[in-house]
Symmetry: C2
Subunit: 161 residues, 2 copies
DNA sequence: CATGAAACAGAGCTACG
DNA sequence: CGTAGCTCTGTTTCATG
């Protein structure tokens, strides 16, 4: 799909404020409200915009600690096996298979260090996991994420407060 | 600040769809539209909700490749030095200082592997960087991020298409 | 083919009870 | 917190370059 400058400007405006009115966005980029709506509808159908979301503060919700965990897995573990296993933990906010020594890298959000430890313990207990190597986040320097990831009760098990 | 179940349900609804109407959210959790608006206003003032943002597909915008880069820095490099340096790269979507051998971990989004390489080269050229260790993402397994991070033209230098 | 203007319906917002 | 009222926005239709 083809995106021109106006489409990019509209996306930029909506990333900044998803509740901005079509009229305001139009005024900012030089387009009428209906034209903006048409383009937004098109951007949604094409998959460029997948939805709209609230930006929440993990700290305010009690998720004050984060960690990155490298996973070293058994011989021929399938990525889908890893996915299925880590998906069950709401604390796993992001996971990906990577190049290098480790097989996968997980990003974990938890209420405190004890909580991180418990989650890692349970993940390490998975059959295919040979060993883990974790790094606790000391301070966040950059977070370009529009809506910072926060654990969600996918199986009704996560709630700090 | 104190958050009850209704507040959490409202946040959950807004993370799923930031453009949901107050009436719809109210109907889902058993509250009137005005009551929902009052709570949302309160959640914004308290800082639990920091804003609303469009969820965009990095792929659709041309950001098809991602990598994690560990930074090993000189003796007494300050976290703020690292922050200032990596902030200048729109491709650095997230950065944090961490425990362990490495000093910091960066999450990079780029258009292709060549692009990743160029960014790492430029970061490695920073005075305080001793060496880097990077891992290209092979496949993303989990992404709980409501609005997936996408490089933004913070200094007018980033645009894949 | 996309845009802008107009018209209707529906949501946001602000009292007040 | 819910209800009622006014205002503004979302949405569709239509005509135009």
């Amino acid at each position: 799909m083809e995106l021109d400058r106006l489409d990019r400007d509209i996306i930029g405006a909506l990333v900044e404020d998803a509740r901005a009115t079509y009229a305001d966005i139009g005024a900012a980029i030089g387009l009428s409200a209906s034209a903006v709506k048409r383009r937004v509808d098109r951007l949604r159908e094409s998959g460029a915009i997948t939805g709209f979301s609230a930006r929440v503060s993990p700290q305010a919700l009690g998720w004050t600690t984060e960690a990155y965990v490298e996973l070293f897995c058994a011989g021929k573990t399938k990525p889908s096996d890893i996915a299925l296993a880590v998906m069950r933990f709401p604390e796993v906010v992001s996971a990906a298979t990577i190049t290098g020594e480790a097989d996968a890298l997980l990003h974990i959000r938890a209420t405190d260090v004890r909580h991180v430890e418990r989650v890692i313990e349970r993940i390490a207990a998975e059959a295919f996991v040979v060993r883990t190597k974790s790094a606790i986040v000391l301070s966040r320097l950059v977070d370009a994420t529009p809506g910072t990831a926060v654990p969600v009760e996918r199986n009704g098990s996560a709630n700090p407060a």
